[in-house]
């Protein structure tokens, strides 16, 4: 069985600025990859290319067996099979928690309202906030909102989950509740690419850690080795900054 994500020599430009520089990456089914690196190193751009929020300019990108070109049709092939969780949650503020969850299943997957609701309740249980179902997202705490966002992504029953700094916008006391939910998912075998600076999470959950700088992947390592003996000067420097703060 081949990898579910395969990037070969993928580059991405913003104007003349090269945000991704010949990135090669393979992620196999069930694997958990943590991506870290300094600000502006292209981590978000990487996951956004995989979820088709950005188009890549060079190289080939294959996700779930479909080669993704910048033709809209190819991204439809992976529609709703790749889900994404954002730093800023991006819940729909005008809809209740429940309506946030059933929007994708009913409109994009064509599920009946009843089936979508069953699914929504199931995933709300999973993220441990079934009692908030009828509230507007604005009334929830940051940690709760992010868990709703995770449930919303799960409601599409995706094969790959992408997380872009899911805890960076949270108050410290709420980080654990969100990481716990992600950790549970990891244990259940979900394929995940997680951009995060939570090195404790990387240690616990990651099969592999990827270190990026200036649009390039500088290092790929197991978490144990990455923390014990990082291979590049820049990853050493980065780890010092993140761990010793």
């Amino acid at each position: 069985m081949g990898p579910v994500i395969e990037m070969r020599e993928v580059s991405k430009y913003f104007g003349s600025f090269k945000a991704l520089n010949s990135v090669n990456l393979e992620v196999s089914k069930g694997e958990k990859v943590v991506v870290c690196g300094p600000s502006g190193s292209g981590k978000s751009t990487l996951v956004r290319c995989i979820s088709r929020l950005e188009k890549h300019d060079e190289g080939t990108l294959e996700v779930l067996g479909s080669i993704l070109t910048n033709d809209e049709k190819t991204s439809r092939a992976i529609k709703s099979k790749v889900s994404m969780v954002f730093q800023q949650f991006n819940l729909f503020p005008h809809l209740s928690v429940l309506d946030n969850l059933i929007l994708g299943p009913t409109k994009a997957l064509g599920l009946s309202r009843k089936d979508a609701l069953d699914r929504a309740y199931m995933f709300l249980e999973r993220v441990k906030i079934p009692e908030q179902a009828d509230k507007k997202p604005g009334l929830l705490s940051g940690g709760q909102q992010q868990r709703v966002a995770i449930a919303r992504a799960l409601c599409l029953e995706p094969e790959i989950m992408l997380f872009d700094e899911p805890t960076s916008a949270l108050d410290p006391e709420m980080i654990a509740e969100v990481l716990d939910v992600i950790l549970d998912l990891a244990k259940e075998g979900m394929t995940m690419v997680v951009v995060t600076h939570e090195m404790g999470f990387a240690r616990k959950a990651a099969d592999r850690v990827i270190f990026m700088d200036e649009g390039e992947i500088l290092e790929e390592n197991t978490p144990t080795n990455f923390f014990k003996k990082p291979q590049t000067e820049r990853s050493k420097l980065f780890l010092n900054q993140v761990l010793n703060y």
């Binding site: 800023q88 991006n90 503020p93 005008h94 994708g104 409109k107 507007k136 604005g138 919303r152 992504a153």
Partner: protein, 258 residues
């Protein structure tokens, strides 16, 4: 609001002074409802409300739809579509209402005729078309600003849960933008009502035209134009009361949105 009330009270005093004064500066008899001719005049003047309201409502309705059609290309990623929007908005916005009214009323029929089309444009439709088109440039900008004010993350989230462009507009962007679009749109309606006074010059029997006609026969401009101003004042106050109510209603929704 406080200021409005004070202004209102001052105006009432001025009017009362005019009514009771024997100096002859004021001649309220022209619209004194206790006399037969005064009553006829009042009925004639107030009879303009219907036309003013109808023209304004129709023009606003068309402008709301036309504005949306004009606004949509401005949200496109294609620069050609975006420039179509810009050209329309800048061009229409630059034309003063009165010349546009003349052009539509006197000029457009000539174009139709030269095309061999038998289309008549009467004062009513001339006014409706002109008001709607000139206002549409503004409503288009209101739509554009409202839609663009919705954070980019909303569209992206909609995309990652598999919604198509139109679905994300329909279920995610537009419902949120509407809360920001409705109050300025309603405000725009006030402008339409006031601008509809221009329709008097092409002979439409609305409030202003009727006032002019009585002024010509009675030669009492002060009293009649004072009444005219109050007629508009009442109309606009009613609308702005509605706008307030709308804003409050949407505002209380907004507060538990974020």
């Amino acid at each position: 609001m406080n200021f409005c009330i004070r202004l209102f009270i001052v105006s009432i005093f001025l009017l009362l002074a005019g009514c009771s004064g024997e100096s002859g500066n004021w001649g309220w008899y022209v619209i004194d409802p206790s006399t037969k001719s005064g009553w006829t005049n009042i009925k004639f003047l107030v009879g303009g409300f219907g036309a003013t309201i109808l023209v304004s409502l129709l023009a606003a309705f068309i402008s709301i739809i036309l504005g949306l059609i004009v606004a949509l290309p401005s949200l496109s990623s294609s620069w050609i579509l975006r420039s179509c929007n810009r050209i329309y908005v800048e061009f229409i916005r630059a034309i003063p209402l009165l010349p546009m009214l003349f052009w539509v009323f006197y000029g457009l029929p000539v174009i139709f005729k030269s095309l061999g089309l038998q289309v008549e444009i009467d004062a009513f439709w001339g006014a409706v078309i002109t008001l709607a088109v000139s206002d549409s440039a503004f409503t288009a900008e209101i739509y554009r600003a409202g839609i663009q004010s919705i954070a980019k993350g909303q569209r992206e989230a909609a995309q990652t849960i598999g919604l198509s462009y139109f679905q994300s507009m329909r279920y995610v962007i537009f419902p949120q933008a509407l809360r920001r679009i409705l109050p300025p749109l309603a405000n725009q309606f006030i402008y339409i009502v006031k601008m509809s006074a221009f329709a008097s010059v092409i002979g439409m029997q609305e409030l202003t035209r009727r006032a002019n006609e009585i002024v010509v026969t009675e030669y009492r401009p002060l009293e009649i134009y004072t009444l005219l101003i109050f007629e508009y004042l009442v109309l606009v106050l009613v609308i702005s009361f509605g706008v307030r109510w709308l804003e409050k209603k949407l505002g209380s929704n907004e507060s538990n949105m974020n």
